[in-house]
Structure formats: structure tokens, C-alpha cells
């Protein structure tokens, strides 16, 4: 087998998102980031990696502790709206 690419749905905060990761590419170095992708009218669009998210490949994706803390911090200092 020359290349192994995993495409799978990821449940994150009540939303189904799509992930892409290259496990193996014969004879060449490759990106090891787990990236989000979308299927649009123009084709498949690979986006940024899932920053601050853990357990994507395990099937139970969740935001990392640091990310949650940062979100709470941002919320507290958002103040009056």
C-alpha cells in the first residue's frame, strides 16, 4: 500500500465536522497534522488543523483543558454586551 489517508466524521460540541490525516505516504515526508476539511461546490477544501482539540482519532473529540480555560477567561473579560 502506498498511502494511507484517514477521513472521518468528528463530533465536537454538538456539531459533526470532518477530519483528515495522512498516516502513511510511501517514499516521502508528509504533514502529520489532523486537519479539518469541507466538501464544497468547488471540491474538497483542506483547512487548518484542529487546534486545542484532543481525542479526535479516538472518536470522542473534546476541547483541551487549556482551550476551555482560555474560553472561560475570554468570557469573563468580555463584560457587558
Amino acid at each position: 500500500m502506498d498511502n494511507i489517508i484517514s477521513l472521518r466524521d468528528v463530533e465536537l460540541e454538538s456539531t459533526l465536522r470532518r477530519s483528515l490525516v495522512i498516516f502513511k505516504a510511501r517514499g516521502t515526508a508528509h504533514d502529520r497534522d489532523i486537519r479539518e476539511f469541507e466538501i464544497t461546490s468547488k471540491g474538497l477544501v483542506v483547512e487548518e488543523k484542529f487546534a486545542g482539540v484532543e481525542q479526535i482519532l479516538g472518536g470522542a473529540a473534546r476541547r483541551s483543558m487549556t482551550e476551555k480555560a482560555a474560553e472561560a477567561w475570554a468570557q469573563a473579560f468580555r463584560g457587558r454586551r
Binding site: A69, A72, A76, F77, G79, R80
Partner: protein, 263 residues
């Protein structure tokens, strides 16, 4: 009474104690001095800089998520205060000295207090704005600019470009009193504004953050009356700032604990 409410009440106890101690020492005006550059550097590094850098880090992460300018301003404020305290502690020894130490600390604190006051005012007035694009780039540029500014102030102070702030034995100059007084006022005002926000949102984080700023302002109040570096009142002022650093750490830990509880 819940554990959280009890810890908040207990946490506020050091404030009146330190203020009473500062007031007593300021009235007594003891001129004895104890200065240990290594001890000052270690205490500043652990209790002020480390805590400030942690707050700067979490503010940076928050800015990347929310794009809120108030997070960027808070992060820049603690970064300026923390890095100035670190450099000031380090430069108490040669090639620095008392004047260099006071100049770097006070100017860095003024910069930090301005960032805090602007941020607190924006939050209180509800005029926060959110950046959608180039967050990482803006963050890097802003934090770098703060660090470069502190570095330039340090170099200028070492070169004697900045007018004298403090003469050991004689006391502070009027320029230094103006700079420190402004920083004191801005930190105190910011603390009051954050406490006002806490009274509305009941966010534990805002409570501890407000106390941290109040302690830093109290520390500046003590230093304001100090005529001799390393005098008892100066050390009381430093202790107040270290307690402020501990409150910063509690604010961060409260946030992490809250995030963990929510799962």
C-alpha cells in the same frame, strides 16, 4: 457558606492587614535598609513575573479564540509588568543599581497599568471589539512590541538617558513620584472597575483578578512613601505585590478548575 465564598472571604483578609502594616510603617518612617539583589530577583521572578507570564499566556490563548481586544490589552499589561519586574530585580546588582531598578520597575508598571485601565474601561463601557483576521500575527506583534519597549527602557536607564528616579538616602525624585503615582491610580481604578464587573457577573476569576490589582496598587502605595530602598515600608510594598502575584495565580487556577468541572 459555600467553599468558594469562604475562600473568597479568606482571600481578602491579607488586604486590610497589609494596608494597616504599610500605613504603620509609613508613619514610623524607619530608615533601616536590607537589600539582597539575589533574593529580590528570586522573589520578583517567582511571585510577580511567573504569575504575570501565566496570565499573559492565558490572555493570549483567549485572544486567539475570541479575538477580543480587551484580552490582548490585559495580556500586554501583565507582560509589561512581569518583564519589568524581572529585569528590575535582576538589575538591582551591577551594572544596574537602585536607580536602574526603580526606573525599570516604575516605567514598566506604568505601561502595564495603562493597558489595564484601558481594557477595564472598554469592558465596563461595553465597547469591546473583536478581531476576525490575523489574530496570531497581531498577538505576536503586540507582545513583541511590549517586550522591545521594556528592553529599550532598560537600555536607556542603564545608559543614563532617562532622568534619575531615585537617589538612595535622599529618596525619590518628583518624576518618579509622578510615574509611580499614575501607575498606582490606574491599577486602583482598574481594580475597582473589575470588582464592579464581578458584582454583576459573579465570576470568581474577576474577583481574584480585581484583588490582585488592588494588592499591586497597595504595594505601589507603600513604595510611594519609601525614602530608602530596602526599608521596612519598601519591603511591605514588595510583599503586597507578591500577594498580588499569588492572586493572579489563584485567578488562573480558578479558571482551570472551572474548565475541568465543566468537563
Amino acid at each position: 457558606m459555600t467553599a468558594s465564598r469562604l475562600s473568597k472571604r479568606l482571600g481578602a483578609i491579607p488586604i486590610p492587614i497589609l494596608i494597616a502594616m504599610i500605613a504603620t510603617l509609613a508613619v514610623l518612617d524607619l530608615r533601616a535598609s536590607f537589600e539582597s539583589p539575589l533574593l529580590l530577583f528570586a522573589l520578583n521572578a517567582v511571585f510577580v513575573s511567573l504569575a504575570s507570564f501565566l496570565v499573559a499566556y492565558i490572555s493570549a490563548r483567549s485572544y486567539l479564540i475570541s479575538g477580543s481586544n480587551t484580552n490582548l490589552l490585559l495580556g500586554s499589561g501583565v507582560l509589561a509588568f512581569g518583564s519589568a519586574s524581572l529585569l528590575a530585580g535582576w538589575l538591582m546588582a551591577p551594572p544596574g543599581g537602585v536607580n536602574v531598578n526603580v526606573t525599570i520597575h516604575n516605567t514598566g508598571s506604568l505601561l502595564g497599568s495603562v493597558f489595564h485601565a484601558v481594557s477595564a474601561t472598554m469592558i465596563l463601557l461595553g465597547v469591546t471589539s473583536e478581531v476576525l483576521r490575523f489574530r496570531k500575527l497581531r498577538l505576536i506583534i503586540t507582545y513583541l512590541a511590549v517586550l522591545v519597549l521594556i528592553a529599550l527602557l532598560t537600555i536607556a536607564s542603564l545608559q543614563g538617558v532617562i532622568p534619575t528616579f531615585f537617589i538612595q538616602g535622599e529618596g525619590p525624585t518628583s518624576l518618579r513620584q509622578g510615574v509611580l503615582g499614575t501607575a498606582l491610580f490606574l491599577f486602583a481604578i482598574s481594580s475597582i472597575m473589575f470588582m464592579k464587573l464581578y458584582s454583576e457577573s459573579k465570576s470568581d476569576l474577576l474577583y481574584w483578578y480585581s484583588l490582585a490589582l488592588a494588592m499591586i496598587a497597595s504595594g505601589f502605595f507603600a513604595i510611594f512613601f519609601s525614602r530608602v530602598s530596602g526599608s521596612p515600608v519598601a519591603w511591605a510594598g514588595r510583599c503586597a505585590q507578591y500577594v498580588g502575584g499569588i492572586y493572579f495565580l489563584i485567578a488562573v487556577l480558578t479558571t482551570i478548575r472551572g474548565a475541568r468541572t465543566k468537563g
